[in-house]
């Protein structure tokens, strides 16, 4: 139990630092910006109680907001992300299978499941984030292209990090 808390704490810190010190400065063609920090919410254990899940998402969002000078924006998007996560997991994962599958990582759940999971959650998060940030229907074409290309970039980075920390033993 304490190991799970420690790993998640470290993951939180590393992802926030990575996001604000490195990924914040990366943009491809003014269109594609990665928001890898949401990987933290994606990788929380299956058994996380809902209240904790939402509280953590909200805190993560606010932390990122503090660095991005946009209070509430990322928090709102992360809260939506947490809600979509709850729905997605309740649809695709059987409740009694939690004992040998503690965390929704790439190495435990397999490539197909993880890819769909990451893609759908990222799409929801980014769509909400970009539209809330711009909040203008007249720029919808730029917003949509930014949303799509950024999602591709983020999912790509998620898969890369999933493969980087791939542990074969865990698959039973």
């Amino acid at each position: 139990m304490s190991r799970i808390i420690l790993t998640n704490l470290v993951r939180f810190l590393v992802l926030v630092l990575l996001q604000v010190l490195l990924l914040k400065n990366i943009t491809l063609y003014n269109l594609s910006t990665p928001y890898l920090y949401i990987l933290f919410i994606l990788l929380l254990p299956f058994e996380t109680p809902n209240i904790l899940l939402f509280a953590l998402s909200f805190i993560l969002g606010l932390t990122i907001d503090a660095f991005y000078d946009t209070p509430g924006l990322h928090a709102a998007a992360c809260t939506l992300l947490a809600f979509v996560r709850v729905l997605f997991i309740s649809i695709t994962v059987q409740k009694d299978g939690f004992d040998n599958e503690p965390e929704p990582t790439l190495s435990i759940m397999g490539f197909r499941w993880f890819f769909t999971y990451a893609l759908i959650l990222t799409l929801f998060h980014h769509f909400f984030l970009f539209n809330l940030e711009v909040f203008r229907i007249s720029e919808i074409d730029y917003t949509l292209s930014r949303f799509l290309l950024s999602s591709v970039f983020t999912v790509f980075l998620m898969l890369v990090s999933g493969l980087l920390f791939f542990r074969k033993k865990e698959r039973k």
Binding site: T33, F54, A66, F67, D69, T70, P71, A75, A76, F83
Partner: protein
Amino acid sequence: MRNLLIFITKYNAFFLFLIFEIASLIVYLKYNSFQKASVINSTNQVTGNLYARADEVKGYLTLREVNDQLARENAALRNQLKSSQYIDTVAHKKVVDTIYKQQYEYIAAKVINNSINKRNNYLTIDRGSREGIEKGMGVIASNGVVGKIAFVGEHLSIVQSLLHKDSRVSGMLAYNKEIGYIQWGDDMNPRKALLVDVSNNAQPKIGEPVVTSDLSLFPAGIPLGKVSKLKAKGTGFFLNLEVALAVDFSKLEYVDVVINKFAKEQAGLEAQEKKADE
């Protein structure tokens, strides 16, 4: 009552979602008018410190460019020195200048956090209310306009960059003095902006400089950019021009905050006038 509780616990995810979503949206929408929410930004202790550290490291990488820029600025300033100009009349006694008095003062500041890739970009600088910075002051770099102060902390302030959807700076074409205003285009190119609402009588040329007008909060004549395209999107009753910005926002290291000594007087007078109108 019991059924209600069962209902809420069964769909707890949805209710939690509602609570947190509404909380964050309130924080988001109130940010600009709500001073207390400004704890959550880069003027607070933790975020400010972290950015200052990261910037120390980054500062080394851009030393060469900063040096170049300073050398150029030094040369330009030296050209303006009395000692580098000759006097072609008989020498006069020096008198204390009573006609020209300082209207603008400048405070140099270092940029410790910067972004150019969002729809609304902000910079954080390492000067705050202790150094006399107030909300609404203009910020320039050595080669042009950067933005205006949006939030002031004790030691740090946040600058609303020109690259922001709500930024508007009054500008004019340098040669034929036609006035318009500069705003950032929606294609989010950090090197381009639009000069909009220019009168159709103006006959701008490509490469013509665009500078701040007397109507802006900056001293008149500070460069904004150069005209790069004559007919930009949305030209109709008024002329819209595309302008290549003078400042390279991705490489900002040092900026100057402009203190206009008449700003308070002007704001006070204009407020009075507004009241009189109503």
